[in-house]
């Protein structure tokens, strides 16, 4: 049975950064992922990473922009940690090899991004996440003697000891189908968000809320789950993401009349207002009949105003995406986009060291909610979040592990329980619905009722749908009866994770009777600081989700009206 000081679940940016930090602090470390680490969805982050590294910049300005972007729901102590540590973290990445673009003086170049008061986004063309993820994986290869890798292992549940402390996980080797218990003094969840709750989404098929659901089932509260980010620029048909870097480089948004409609809702920042503001503005244009394309369901993103050479160098990936996935040369004609589900601000509630309410269990990255993003995340703050809080979780977990004895936990019974659960799914008769049908219906319902605009009626209907689908999922059947790479049975387990995440999102969205950040309630269209300047926590009780509140930490920026 593998045993480590620190076991990390998920090998995207947060997980890999946590692993390297924990190893550097002397812990024995294992990192486990259901896919090969470079397939992790961090790879799709395009535009860049925010840090106040410019001589003229100040991390306080970055922090203020982040607070304002969060619609004052972000915890300011956590935001201060993230923004003040950002420059050193970005320099560290540069030193280990990330190929950040340079200016003519050879310094890191910075690009403009949404919601930022100045240029502070460092980038590698529009493959920043990929470049960072691959460089961190280079470091994992370098440190292969101190960080043990379990690639293509699927975590099925968390192990809790008699005191309710997290002491490891049960995981299935995807290749062989073997189920094994891993013990660890501390476990760090770093397995990303839950974009597949929605259909369509910019998120990869692997982004199924595994970590959020695992922690929720173990009793950890989730926070800010109602805050779901719709990215303003996704391809109409497939939902594929077009980076905010395009607007950072100067691209315009146009409605059917050729108007830059952002001047109505954000006269100063225009296209570079925060994402919630831009997505809402686009949806209004579409809803009011000023959309473009078939059914008027889109908006034009016009990149042709960016000098062509610059586009080819700094936005090369979206040139390819436009060509290959929409048949458009974005350097010569506008491309049709619309808002699409992209990110969840919520997640497992943690402190600034990644500690959850469960002893021995940490969370970092999109799976976690510190909360640095509050009601709306600024573009290029997510890469920063993964690295800062991944590192901090890794350091804290390693330091605490040094003072701990080996975990004492019963592994046989949980191992047997999970084995039986999986065998039962495989053995289900072909009656009722397929897993894939239920997943598709869930995604469509969430995208209809828990999207940019929400109301009581729609959310109630989503809640009922989720409840019905949960029942149907109990008997949903699969085809694959094998053990080697049985992706079918993993899909059934993932569906369970997705349903938990969806339920928490809908419950929290129903609870918050105001409009703030990404949550816009047409039945409560105003922000209401008097009643709702607080986080909504959702925890799993004996009869389902239980809602409670926690305060928002305010250090130096009092809430004020948000204007861009």
């Amino acid at each position: 049975m593998p045993a480590h000081d620190v076991l990390i679940i998920g090998a995207g940016l947060a997980g890999q950064r946590a692993a390297l930090a924990a190893a550097q602090n002397g812990a024995s470390v294992a990192i486990m992922s259901k896919v090969h680490p470079v397939r992790s969805h961090s790879v799709a982050a395009a535009g860049g990473i925010n840090a106040a590294i410019s001589i003229d910049d100040d991390w306080h300005s970055h922090a203020y922009d982040t607070v304002k972007g969060s619609d004052y729901l972000g915890d300011q102590d956590a935001i201060e940690v993230m923004c003040s540590e950002a420059p050193a973290e970005v320099m560290h990445l540069e030193h280990i090899g990330v190929t950040f673009h340079r200016n003519d003086k050879g310094e890191m170049d910075l690009r403009a991004f949404g919601g930022a008061s100045m240029k502070r986004t460092a980038y590698v063309a529009d493959i920043t996440g990929q470049a960072m993820l691959h460089v961190l994986y280079e470091q994992l290869m370098k440190h292969h003697e101190t960080v043990e890798r379990f690639e293509e292992w699927f975590t099925t549940s968390l192990l809790l000891d008699d005191n309710g402390r997290c002491a490891g996980v049960i995981a299935r080797d995807v290749r062989s189908g073997t189920l094994e218990a891993f013990t660890a003094k501390n476990v760090i969840l770093a397995c990303g968000g839950a974009g597949q709750v929605y259909k369509p989404t910019t998120n990869g098929l692997i982004v199924t809320g595994d970590g959020i659901a695992l922690a929720y089932r173990a009793g950890a509260p989730l926070m800010d789950m109602e805050m779901v980010q719709y990215h303003p620029t996704c391809l109409v048909e497939t939902g594929i993401l077009i980076t905010e870097g395009a607007r950072g480089e100067g691209a315009h948004l146009l409605n059917a009349n050729g108007e830059r409609f952002m001047e109505k809702s954000a006269p100063n920042k225009m296209e570079l207002a925060s994402r919630d503001v831009v997505s809402r503005a686009e949806q209004i244009e579409i809803n009011e009949g000023r959309g473009v394309g078939p059914h008027g369901a889109g908006i034009f993103l016009d990149v042709t105003v960016v000098p062509r050479r610059r586009t080819l160098e700094a936005l090369r990936e979206i040139v390819n995406l436009g060509r290959d996935f929409a048949g458009v040369d974005i350097t010569r004609e506008p491309i049709m986009i619309r808002p699409g589900q992209h990110y969840i601000m919520g997640g497992v509630k943690t402190d600034v060291d990644g500690r959850t309410s469960i002893e021995g269990l940490y969370a970092a990255g999109e799976v976690a909610c510190v909360s640095v993003h509050g009601g709306n995340r600024l573009g290029a703050n997510s890469l920063l979040d993964t690295l800062i809080f991944g590192r901090r979780a890794g350091e804290d977990a390693a330091a605490r592990a040094a003072a701990m004895g080996p975990p004492r936990v019963e592994t046989l019974a949980p191992l047997r329980a999970d084995a039986e659960r999986i065998d039962a799914i495989i053995a289900r008769p072909h009656q009722g619905r397929r897993v894939s049908e239920i997943k598709a219906e869930l995604g469509e319902a969430m995208n209809r009722h828990a999207a940019v605009f929400r109301d009581e009626e729609g959310l109630q209907s989503a809640l009922q749908t989720v409840a019905r689908l949960r029942e149907e999922a109990e008997t949903a059947w699969i085809d694959d009866r094998g053990t080697v790479f049985n992706q079918d049975v993993l899909g059934a387990l993932e569906l369970g994770f997705l349903l938990d995440c969806a339920e928490a999102t809908v419950v929290a969205a129903l609870e918050r009777k105001e409009s703030r950040g990404a949550q816009f309630r047409t039945d409560y269209p105003a922000r209401n600081d008097a009643e709702w300047l607080k986080h909504i926590d959702v925890a799993l009780g004996p009869d389902g989700p239980v809602v409670s509140y926690s305060p928002v930490t305010i250090t130096q920026w009092e809430p004020e009206e948000r204007k861009y």
Binding site: V43, D324, G482
Partner: protein, 424 residues
Amino acid sequence: MTEAHDREGGIESFTLRLRRYDPESGEAPYWDEHTVELEAHRSVLEAILQARDRFDGSIGIRCSCRQAICGSCGVRVNGEPALACHTHLDAARGGSGADGVIEIEPMGNMPVIKDLIVDMDEVHWKKIQRVTPWLLAKQPVPEREYLVPRESMVDVTQTMACIQCGACVSDCLAMEVDPGFIGPAALAKAYRFVGDPRDDQQYERLNDLAQDPQGIFDCTHCFKCVEACPKDVNPMGQIMRLRRVAIADHHIRDHNNGERHEAAFATLIKDNGLLWEAELLPRSYGGNSFFGKFAPSAAKELLSSLPSIFKALARGKVTLAGALKPHKIPSEDLKAVQGIYDKVEGRERRYELNLYISGSDEDNAPVVPEQAAVGATPSTVAPPRPDPGPPSAAEEESVTHQGGAGADASADDPEAGSEGSNSQ
């Protein structure tokens, strides 16, 4: 691919023929057909996923992002390596056989685990690990970022854009013959460090890869990897760049005779306008002189090659006259060929084609005033700028880049002159 983005393409039927393999069954691989309904511009991956969702959930394929960035879904479509998510159904049907059925198989050169899933660890990642795939940074580490030329970072971005999908490894011909060949993906990864001015071990890396008999000189220059790569990484081009830096900048002479073999190609063509095959071997081993052929190593190689030579003579592939005399081309043609050499060799610096700098191939046609790129003094690259305010920064950069692109565009293909193909 020039369809309009706002098309409402009709749903069509597409038949997929999937190569299935169940390692637990004890049975051999078999073909499995499914017909799906999708618009023609949808991807092969979407078709496979529809078959999996509707008909058979046991179809094995790795996939996640659906947008050619995670690198999971490398397969062979109609025998050619590709990302399933990056291949349109209409294009795939166009490339299929007479029956119009799209054939999908696992990638080559790697063992199959199940259906379309191959063991990349066993081949691909082992090779990546071979090239010391991490930065060996110059010391001392600065407090802030390393100050490096902007072009160099854009340059290595092309290899950084590799998503490790394995498509190039799948169809590497050299690897098929010599499984130990480090291969296109790993060597492209090596260039990512060799080309990185922050790395302290350029010579050591190159010497290592040049001396390894399965290193940079094991590539047979077949272009398969260039065609296979979905991200324009141009792996073979990166291998050739490794050779050029090793030879021209570090004067590395390798035990594999790769460097002299390339020189033999280049000098023979310069002297004769065409390759003189019979002289290739002596020159490769004995250097560029009449007496070269009497070098002991050349004689040794000649002796070991005698069986092949006799066979070739017996089959009429080589004649005695052809062996003794070079091919002749008209003298004006020879002059033109030599003119290329003069132009390329006369430059102060090599020009290297990089798509991130120069855009697409099509962009290389219209040339803005011919100017030098990386090696030029700043004043010839971009007009002097008094005070680059933020709004104009993007435009300024684009001016710099027109310079770079123009130079690249105007450059004759550097590969034509400075290297020959290598067929060890």
